[in-house]
């Protein structure tokens, strides 16, 4: 098959192929489905995390009430609550910023650039904030365990401290492999696509410059030719 036959084959295949024809009802069902896109994934992740942090903050308020006699615990718990609220504020701000990913009035290149900029600017920050939810959960669990078992927070020896710290660190790092692999995947896809678009932009620019220079050269050459002919004619005639 010759390259010039491409359009003919393409038109024929796409006009007469047996692909499904969806009804208005089918399209309505598609419309209502849940998106699996990068931006929706980021936004849903943020919303879910804000809700989870809200639940854990409520749990800490319950713990503060239950363990109100322990000043040290109250200070720790209030500290966690304040940090939790601050993290929620940041997450809500990132959620607002993520709305730029939903812009549908931009070109393919514009869309890729927007996603890539967002990924580079916010992705790790978001993952860091979301990663902190796990230690909040673990710490709340540990405090509830102590309350139910001993009726108070009893961290007596170094071993307890080491185990708790280890649990907090592991819970924070728990989602790291997934985070890194997802970042890597999206970054690779977007960067490759953008490089493919921009790679030849420089070539296109070079061709444009070359064509412009060629036009100028023709103009200069043509003018010189006309002037030369005029001078020659004047010399001959005089």
């Amino acid at each position: 098959m010759e390259i010039d036959d491409l359009k003919k084959v393409w038109t024929k295949v796409n006009r007469d192929s047996g692909q499904p024809v969806y009804s208005v009802e089918d399209i309505a069902d598609f419309r209502k489905a849940r998106s699996k896109d990068f931006s929706t994934w980021i936004q849903n992740g943020l919303i879910l995390d804000v809700v989870l942090k809200g639940i854990f903050i409520t749990a800490y308020f319950i713990l503060i009430y239950l363990l109100r006699e322990s000043t040290a615990f109250m200070l720790t718990a209030f500290g966690i609550v304040i940090i939790g609220i601050m993290l929620i504020v940041f997450e809500l701000r990132y959620l607002k910023n993520s709305k730029q990913l939903d812009r549908k009035d931009i070109s393919v290149q514009g869309g890729i650039k927007t996603k890539l900029t967002f990924l580079k600017s916010y992705y790790y920050r978001i993952q860091f904030l979301q990663g902190l939810t796990n230690p909040m959960f673990v710490a709340a669990g540990v405090f509830f365990y102590y309350f139910v078992t001993y009726g108070e927070i009893r961290i007596e020896d170094l071993e307890d401290v080491v185990i708790i710290v280890l649990l907090l660190v592991i819970s924070f790092l728990f989602t790291l492999p997934t985070t890194l692999s997802l970042y890597g995947y999206h970054y690779r896809v977007l960067k490759t696509a953008l490089a493919s678009l921009e790679d030849e932009e420089s070539w296109a620019g070079a061709i444009k410059r070359y064509n412009k220079q060629k036009k100028i050269l023709y103009l200069v050459f043509g003018s010189m030719l006309i002037i030369g002919l005029a001078v020659l004619a004047w010399l001959i005639l005089s």
Binding site: M1, I3, D5, L6, K7, K8, V9, W10, T11, K12, V13, N14, D16, S17, G18, Q19, V21, Y22, S23, V24, I27, A28, F30, R31, A33, S35, K36, D37, F38, D102, R103, K104, D105, I106, S107, V108, Q109, G110, G111, I112, K115, Y185, H186, V189, L190, T192, A193, S196, L197, E200, E201, W203, A204, G205, I207, K208
Partner: protein, 166 residues
């Protein structure tokens, strides 16, 4: 700004669903993936339908949203079996009418699928008889760049087709 009701939106998408099918065929290898991408594009069209505002032709806008979605959507990696069809079923009479064989069609799709996502998007628009200006507008690049890209993609396709036929 032109407001589009849900009913109008659904009717327009149903009417122009061929555009979405073509993008899905270009980017997906099997029926499940094609359906998933079709669904995702429909969602994205709905999410952005108010931003359409009638500033561009509806079909141009649809191509833009569909290609934006297709290029960046995370898909499961699936190994295509050699015997598996790469495109929707083609009625047998096409072979006689268009003077092309099933092998030609298979070869075309295989050659296209060896291209990168951006090249696929551009060649799709080219095969759809879109002007260089329209392709430039959809892709967000200059008209000259489109010309350079198409020339290069054609060369790549030619090479791929030769490689496949060998």
């Amino acid at each position: 700004m032109v407001k589009i009701s849900e009913k109008e939106f659904l009717e327009q998408v149903t009417l122009h669903q061929n555009i979405i099918h073509k993008v899905c065929n270009m980017f997906c290898q099997d029926e499940d993936d094609r359906r998933d991408l079709f669904q995702e594009i429909t969602i994205k069209l709905w999410m952005g339908h108010q931003s359409f505002a009638g500033q561009a032709a509806l079909t141009t806008w649809m191509y833009r949203v569909a290609l934006n979605t297709a290029i960046t959507l995370k898909r499961k990696k699936k190994k295509i079996q050699e015997t598996q069809s790469l495109h929707p079923n083609i009625p047998a009479y096409i072979e006689e009418e268009a003077g092309v064989t099933q092998q030609d069609i298979d070869a075309l799709y295989k050659a296209i699928r060896h291209l990168g996502s951006i090249d696929r998007a551009i060649i799709l628009l080219y095969l759809e008889e879109k002007s260089y200006e329209e392709i430039a507008e959809i892709m967000g690049i200059t008209r000259t760049h489109v010309g350079v890209k198409i020339t290069r993609i054609k060369k790549k396709l030619e090479k791929n087709l030769k490689h496949i036929s060998e």
